[in-house]
Symmetry: C2
Subunit: 157 residues, 2 copies
Amino acid sequence: MDALLTFEDFTPGRRFEFARRTLNADEIVAFAREFDPQPMHLDEEAGRASILGGLAASGWHTSAVMMRMLYEAYIGRSASEGSPGVDLMEWKRPVLAGDTLGGHCTVLDARASRSRPEIGIVRFRAEVTNQRGEIVAVCEYINMMRLAAKGTDHAHG
Amino acid sequence: MDALLTFEDFTPGRRFEFARRTLNADEIVAFAREFDPQPMHLDEEAGRASILGGLAASGWHTSAVMMRMLYEAYIGRSASEGSPGVDLMEWKRPVLAGDTLGGHCTVLDARASRSRPEIGIVRFRAEVTNQRGEIVAVCEYINMMRLAAKGTDHAHG
């Protein structure tokens, strides 16, 4: 079994690719009903009449899908200690029903925590793209990561 | 029927209260299974063993619940044209199963759009609180709003 990715693995510039995923109309509507019931997120007609140009995912839905992509790309096999938040979340283009999302995240910088010596603070930039390679969302966020335990072997690639 | 809230209604300092809502374990786990399947969002034991101290909502779940609160507070009865993103999203304290969320949002500033004269740009700060009055999440975001149509009566309070 591969060792968990720890703070030491997140060197500036390291990049993790996202698995591609198509967002269908049912998913868009289900999320919108629960969290963002504006007409353009619920109805194709209303979406076409809006600036978004079609049945479009709530920006927060795109963000949640990005979170799942981050989980699959590295968080699920890392010593993550969660995030205190994001510095930037831009929804740059509509995500329409049937769009296939992908993208990647990159380590911006990494530093030790002053208050918690067993933890490091890693800043990432994530870019979510659609099937035309256009960036639909950008997020810059912090991820707390445990350091490799001292005295143990730290296997990574 | 009340007129839609338009750009002119969003004067700096104006505040909209959120309806209170309790987040239960089933909702937390359902969101996590789909978008953020980290152990502390799926399992009470794992949550208690984590820094979060119990079965805790994904930060993105808290954000999505905040979106619904914003919808109920003003977006659903406004001339909203959506949002290009957020400048800041902080998850300041864990949201645990059974917590009752509330809070409010406040207009920070409002200005005309240079590129689209029928639209104004309103910046808001939203604060989500728990049943102890502690702030669990803060978001500063932009909301595009249509101006009242010229020559029509613009009724607002």
